[in-house]
Structure formats: structure tokens, C-alpha cells
Amino acid sequence: MSENLAQDFAVTREKLLKVYPTKAARKRAKHMVLNDPDPETMPEIEANVRTIPGIITQRGCTYAGCKGVVVGPIRDIVNITHGPIGCGFYSWLTRRNQTKPIDDNDYNLMNYCFSTDMQEDDIVFGGEKKLRQAVREAYEIFKPKAIGIFSTCPVGLIGDDVHAVAREMKEELGINVFGFSCEGYKGVSQSAGHHIANNQMFKHVIGLDDTVRDSKYKINLLGEYNIGGDAFEIERILEKCGIDLIATFSGNSSYDYFANAHTADLNCIMCHRSINYVADMMEIKYGIPWIKVNFIGAEATAKSLRKIAQYFGDPELKERVEKVIAEEMPEVEKHRADARTRCEGKTVMLFVGGSRAHHYQDLFAELGMRTIAAGYEFAHRDDYEGRRVLPTIKIDADSRNIEELTVEPDPERYRYRKTEAEVAELKAQGFEFRDYEGMMAQMAKGTLVIDDISHYEMEKLIAYHKPDIFCAGIKEKYVIQKMGVPCKQLHSYDYSGPYAGFKGAINFYRDIDRLVNSKIWGYIQAPWEKNPELIATYVK
């Protein structure tokens, strides 16, 4: 990173803060830092705190994080949204979690939206009766394995007890029914909803099926939601390597996979922010260690596969993984080299999600593109600065609202998958358990990091620094493009993908190449705007 850019960003930071009223400026200042990747001198960034009203945030709500992100992608649960119609409607098929039922007779409820569509009377007199009836009707018509109930804002306020209804209906119908207190206002962003989803899946589903599959390398993939088919590509690679994927939380998943997930020997975390809670709980209860992986980027994919092989320590697996990498990489290299000729040196800004703004920096680096500014929408300090800062994170009132489960080792089923000696040996090899170094450790010194960026900040950042590409979500997409800068949506991938794994990397190179090099960006000005000189008219 050039000295100049760091200085420019320091100036930009001051300019961005100037527009806000004093109180808002004081708060926003803590969310904007000039990066230093050295853990000793890395600045502290404020994250996972309340958004200032009125500043135009990217963030959504707790319900969106719970139903929309974590539980929504499970194809064989009837997910009933308990509330007025909107919440269920907006989270209906809008997140691109692809799913592939096993065969024509398998469940696929993904394309359906279920809601109690609460009316005024339900608000006034309570909605439990309608909810109970809705659960009965859902069972009667769809005969699912399980039913989930998702609370929207009014539910908590009027005092409907969705958990009591769930218990009753579980008893009455003889299938698993569970509730989520994921009212939109519960946290400061989607993040609270992830935590609530983790808790309830851990309490009500994980561990229900003790069948142990006869395979050698059993893993779970946590925090992979199969946007645009990412999970399909990762499944393909793992299968080729001979690694047995017990469950993915929750892309292309079934209720049954969750029930059986505790039989895996390793949890691999993709999106740290949304799913680390359940990984921790599974380690304590069942003795399954977890590691951070990243399948976004061909190099990152190879690294993650090697890390999994190293964990199992079997030379046969290591050899097979190397063979797969050797087979896959030439094709990747070919496309990368080609796209790189047109993309190298271009600059990138990423403001999105809770892990994507980090993961995608690897893919851009493979194209020779430089990340100059980045930030998350709903991440916590550990996602920026690494898990080493966890003990120093202050728990505020908003975080205290979210239940922390007390978990104990399971008396029968706890079995730590590695002996102390094995753990020590792996650590000696530099193997990191339960670690995530965060985004900032990987970004260059002097780059700009902004948490929960506001619309104003985003627009000014683009105007001042004209990146060659800006990555964000649907609400930002067309603002950015109005400014003549291409935007890549990293929630929906602009309806393309997959971008994970080896084939995904090739797709990404192609998509970025054609986006940043599209002819249209050169045609914004009309010829007469480029040459506005007046031409004299002939007057008779």
C-alpha cells in the first residue's frame, strides 16, 4: 500500500466525519480505522453496536439472520413465520440458497413461504391460537419431519409464547416442533439472529440421530449457505478427496444432516460470524474440534484442504488431497492468467456481510487486484481483529439479550477426537485450532476499514477514491453503478456463481473480468457531452 493512499484515507476519514452532528460523529469515528495488520499495533475497531438512527445503514434484523440466513436453507423443515405477512414474504426465496433434493420423492419446501399472516385481532387478543392452528394445518397438508416457528417483532411484544406452543404441538403431532425468539428488534443486526438460530438448532436438532457412518474422514462444513451453488462445488471437491461430509450448516441441507452432525470428527467453519457459536458448543458437548477454513479462492481452497488432511494426519488422505489440487489447478491457472492480463492492478472496495468482505479479498488477490478499503455489515470485533481480542470485547445490553447456553460434556457421547499428544503435535506443526485471525491481519497497512458503513460514507468513499470495483449488496448496487463504478453483489453474486472452490474461482475470474471491463462504462457520456463546443447556425 502506498504511503500516499494511507495519507489520503486519513484525510478522507476526517472529511467523512465532518457531516455528522457531534454525537453521531463521535460514534462513527470509532467505526473507522486505518489498518495496521501487526497484532501488536493493530487499532481497535468498534463493531456489533447499535446503528445510529437515520444514517442509512446496510443492516437488516434479527429475524433475517435467523430465518433468512441460518435456518431458511434447510429444505425439509416447514418454516412458519409467526407475524404479519411482510417478514415471511421478504425472506421467501430471495437469498439464493440452492438446494438439491436427493430424488423426486424427497422433501423440498424451499420454494414455499409459510406465515400466520397475523391480523389486528391476533395482535389484540394474542396470536397463539392462530399459531397452533397454523402448525396443525402445516402438518396436515405437508407432513414434514419438523416445523420451525419464527417470531417477528410484534410476537415478543404481545407476549405470545412460541416455545410453549412448539412444545404442545410437538406432543400433539409427534414430530419435532421448535420455536425461535428472533424478533427483529432483538439485536443490533442480523448477527443476533445467527446466534439464536445456532442455539435452537443445537438444543432441538443436533444429536438426535447417533448413527455413525462407516467412513474415515468425517467432517461438517459450518457457515456455508450454498449461495449460487457454492456448497455443490465444495461437496464435489470433498468427495473427490474422499472426505465424508456429514452436514453442511446449512446450504443444500436436510434436517437429518443436522440431527446426525455430532458424529463428525471435525467442524470446518466457513462463515465465522454466523456459526462459531454452535462449533464451540459442539466441541464442549461432543468433543469435536473446529478449525477455520475458506473455500473462496483457489489458493484458499487448496490451503483449506491441506489443513483438513493435516488434521486427520493420514498420509493416504494427504496424498489424495495433493493429487486433487494438482488435477484442478492447471485449469484454474489458465483462466486466472488470462483474466489477470485485464484485471491486474485494479483497486477493490468491499463492504458486505460478516465474512465475505474478508474471504473475497483472496480471490481478488489471485487476479492481482488490490483491496484498498473494506468493512463488514454486521460482524463483531473478532472478525476484524481476530479471536485473540475475544476476552477484551465488552458485553453490552444488546448482546446480553441473546441467550448464552450453558453447555456441558455429554456423559455418554463426549469423545475428544484427538489425544492430548496429537493436539500437541499438530500445534507444534503450526496447526491452529479454534482460531480466526480476522480481516485486518490480512489487509495492508494504511488501508481503510469501516464498520457498518453508512450510505453517505460509501458514496463519498467512491467519489474520492474511484475504486475499479465496489462489492456490496442489492441496496447499494445501483447507487454505485449510477456513479459509473461496477458493483459486484456479494450476497447474491448478481445471480451467478458458484464462486467457491476451484470451478467457482474460474467463474469469479470470468465474472469480474467482464464486469470491470464491460464496454458500457465507456459510453456514459454522449458524444456531444464530450465535445460541447457550439456550432454556429446559419440564419437567413
Binding site: I55, Y107, F114, E137, P154, L157, G184, K475
Partner: protein, 457 residues
């Protein structure tokens, strides 16, 4: 199969909605507020509402949709949202400097009982609303009505906050276009202009949600009804409200407040509804319909007569919003088609009354207010149709049942065109005719035996 669990057998449901044909009030209020010039819509509730509404509108228009939120957390939900709204007003005027903030409520702020006028009065008192700026509001409880109700409430709010009668009548007509696209609002203005009539069209999202790409983001695009124009609406000679569900409330409020007489008409979709619109406009403004409009009408009649045999007897299933469905069904009947299943998620007896009128010559027709798309699909499974019309969610049924499908309504998430090309007026009707023929004739080309494959159709 995409909807593999949808069964022919219709079991009674009283509590569970499956695949809704409506969404909630606030998104409609947000859309309407975008039709005011220099206005920032504001969602008074938790962040998710605002994020969802902006996302849906953005996906529908592929355009920036600017709106802010009060960002409720648990504290605000317990102690009330006043502090959040006051802080939001402060920040919005400092950072985004709109002329108007248009606040709508959510189920959250409605349930806790936030009194918006009282909070706005306090904002005014505290000097948080700069001179010459406005904060308006409407109540949009999500557990009443639908997105159409929310739209209607915000349009009514515009009247309540702005319309004034000065005592001097102006030679202009108010047109409340209803929940239609920017292209439709532009077309409505053009038709009035062709007739030489001055209008106040509100809301007006043309030049807002179809803005050009110039290399600069206009936070407030050039379109939208101005405050000046909204104020003058109280002096207009009359109001034409298009669509009972979306526009009647505002027209009635304007009459009550400023004594402006009004006519409520169907949305001008298709031949007859456009005829009534032009005729009412002509009589209200006391003008003669120009030859150019007669020619537009003539072209439509000509096209229909040329291709009439393709429409005849075709069974159509439709879902969407009541104002659209009423006018559209009437047009389909005009074309000798048979709208046999019509479902709206929006509640309201008026819908069923209107459909009985429009479909009196289709005895087999079934229609339902407060229904859902799952039910419509079941009807189709029991007796198939030749054409399906509705928003993007219809594509799942269309593919499973192999039915030609025309996207119409809100939201359309997977195609463009609706924001650029109108469906209202004679030109819009011609576009509908083209779309219907395209769908039906493409199907014939696909399915006919090779020996029956026609070059000329």
C-alpha cells in the same frame, strides 16, 4: 418439480397462509413517498423492515431506493421509539438534507403505540426540523390490509399534510395514479398533456425510479411531485383517483379537506377502462379529446381485430393486487378471453363485488380476496388454464404446470421493462396485447406438429 408438495386436494385452511399474494403496508408507503420530490422515506421500526423494503423495491426497479430507519433495538421497543425518531430526524437533515421526511410506521412501532404526530410536534419544538422543511407521516400497521393499503395511506398523508385551498380555483386536475409503475405515471401525464390539461399527479415516481446513468448518483432524482404542486392540489377543479384500493382514500380526504370533487375510476388498463379515464378527464377539464388520442385508440382496436382469433376462449389465471386485477380482468373479457381464477392477497369485499360485475359473463370464474398463490395453484391443478399472469412468484407454477406466463404486478424480480414501458392507456393496452399474443403464439409454435408449423400467423 419446484412446488412438489402442492396437491390437487384442497384442504381447508383458516390459519396458515402459503405463498402469499400480498406483502405488508410499509413497503407501499415507502414506494409512494419516493414519488415526492426531494423526499426521504423513513421507516419507524427495526432495521429489517427498511432493509427488506428497500431490497424488494431495488430488485423490482434495478434502481437506487433511498430510505432510512429508526433502527429500533430492544430498548426502544420497551421505552418507545421517540428518542430514535428524534435522533433520526436530526441525522437525516444534517447528512441527507431532504425537503421532506416521510415517516411510516411498522408493526413494531404500532404495537408499542408510538404517537407519531406527538413526536413530530416535539421535533418541531426542539428545532430539529429546519425552516422550510417538512416531516410528514402515515400509520401503516402491517397487520391490517396489505402493501396496497400502505401505499394508499401514504398518498392520503400527502393530502393531509400539504393540500391547501386558497379560495382561488386553478385550472388543473389532480390525478392520483394508484400503485402503477414510473412508466405508467409518465404515460398518464402524457395523455393529459395531449389533451391540453394541466395536472397534479401524485405520487409520481417517473424520473425517480427510472433515472438515467450519468456517472453521478442523484440522491434525489429530478422526478417526484413537488410540495408546491401538492399544496395546489386543494385548488384543483377536480380529482381523478385511479384504483379504488390505492387511491380512493386520498381523493376522499382531499374533498373533505379542500372541497375538491372527485371521481374514482378503475386503473386505465385496457380499452374500456382507458375510455372511461379519457372521458372523465375530458368532462372534468372541459376539453375536446384530440385526434391524436383517437388515433391511439384506433390502433389498439385495429390490432385486436387483426388478431382476435388467438384470444378467443383462452382460460387465464391471475393473481396480484385488486386494482390491477379488476381492470385487467375486464380487458381480458373484452378480448373474448376467460379469466377463470383471480386471487388477491389484499383483503376487501370490494374486490369480490367488482369481480362479480366484471366477470358476470364467465360463470365458471372463481375469485378470492385475502387468498394466496398456493390456493390458485391448486385450482389450476384441478382444471388447467392457458395463461398465467402475475408477479415473479408465478414462474414456479408456470414451470411446474407448463403454462405460458406473463409477468405483471409487484414485484417483478427477474425481468425488466415494467419501469420503462407503460401498461396504462391505449399504448399500454397495446403492449398488453403484444405480451399476451407473444405468450400464446410462442406456445403454439412450440407445441404444434411440424406439419402444422405456420410461417404466417
Amino acid at each position: 418439480m419446484l412446488l412438489r408438495h402442492t396437491d390437487k386436494e384442497i384442504k381447508e385452511r383458516v390459519a396458515l397462509t402459503v405463498n402469499p399474494a400480498k406483502t405488508c403496508q410499509p413497503v407501499g408507503a415507502m414506494y409512494a413517498a419516493l414519488g415526492i420530490h426531494n423526499c426521504l422515506p423513513h421507516s419507524h421500526g427495526s432495521q429489517g423492515c427498511c432493509a427488506y423494503h428497500r431490497s424488494t423495491l431495488t430488485r423490482h426497479y434495478k434502481e437506487p431506493v433511498m430510505a432510512s430507519t429508526s433502527s429500533f433495538t430492544e430498548g426502544a421497543s420497551v421505552f418507545g421509539g421517540q428518542a430514535n425518531l428524534l435522533e433520526a430526524i436530526n441525522n437525516i437533515f444534517s447528512v441527507y438534507n431532504p425537503d421532506v421526511i416521510a415517516v411510516h410506521t411498522t408493526c413494531l412501532s404500532e404495537v408499542i403505540g408510538d404517537d407519531i404526530p406527538q413526536i413530530l410536534a416535539k421535533a418541531k419544538e426542539d428545532g430539529r426540523i429546519p425552516e422550510g422543511k417538512y416531516v410528514i407521516h402515515c400509520n401503516t400497521p402491517s397487520f391490517v390490509g396489505s402493501h396496497v393499503t400502505g401505499f394508499s395511506n401514504m398518498v392520503k398523508g400527502m393530502v393531509q399534510y400539504f393540500a391547501e385551498s386558497s379560495g382561488n380555483k386553478l385550472n388543473q386536475v389532480n390525478i392520483i395514479p394508484g400503485w402503477v409503475e414510473p412508466s405508467d405515471m409518465r404515460e398518464i401525464k402524457r395523455l393529459a398533456w395531449e389533451m391540453g390539461i394541466s395536472t397534479v399527479v401524485f405520487p409520481d415516481t417517473s424520473d425517480v425510479l427510472d433515472a438515467p446513468l450519468t456517472g453521478k448518483h442523484q440522491f434525489y432524482p429530478k422526478g417526484g411531485v413537488t410540495i408546491e404542486a401538492l399544496k395546489s392540489a386543494g385548488d384543483s377543479i377536480g380529482t381523478i383517483a385511479l384504483g379504488h384500493f390505492a387511491s380512493a382514500a386520498a381523493a376522499e380526504a382531499l374533498d373533505a379537506k379542500c372541497n375538491v370533487k372527485y371521481e374514482i375510476l378503475d386503473l386505465p388498463y385496457g380499452l374500456l377502462a382507458t375510455d372511461r379515464f379519457i372521458d372523465s378527464l375530458r368532462r372534468m377539464a372541459k376539453v375536446v379529446v384530440p385526434e391524436s388520442i383517437n388515433a391511439e385508440r384506433g390502433r389498439l382496436i385495429d390490432a385486436i381485430s387483426d388478431m382476435q382469433s388467438y384470444f378467443y376462449g383462452k382460460r387465464v389465471a391471475l393473481f396480484g393486487d385488486p386494482d390491477q386485477l379488476i381492470a385487467l380482468s375486464e380487458f381480458l373479457v373484452t378480448l373474448n378471453m376467460r379469466p377463470v381464477y383471480v386471487v388477491t392477497g389484499t383483503p376487501g369485499k370490494k374486490f369480490e363485488e367488482e369481480m362479480s360485475r366484471v366477470l358476470h359473463e364467465i360463470p365458471e370464474a372463481k375469485f378470492k380476496q385475502a387468498g394466496d398463490i398456493y390456493l390458485l395453484h391448486q385450482w389450476i391443478k384441478n382444471e388447467p388454464v392457458d395463461l398465467l399472469m402475475g408477479n415473479t412468484y408465478g414462474k414456479y407454477i408456470a414451470r411446474d404446470e407448463d403454462i405460458p406466463f406473463i409477468r405483471i404486478g409487484f414485484p417483478i424480480l427477474d425481468r425488466i421493462g415494467h419501469s420503462y414501458f407503460p401498461l396504462v392507456g391505449y399504448t399500454g393496452a397495446l403492449r398488453l396485447v403484444e405480451k399476451i399474443l407473444g405468450a400464446i403464439m410462442d406456445r403454439q409454435d412450440r407445441d404444434c406438429p411440424e406439419e402444422g408449423f405456420e410461417l404466417v400467423m
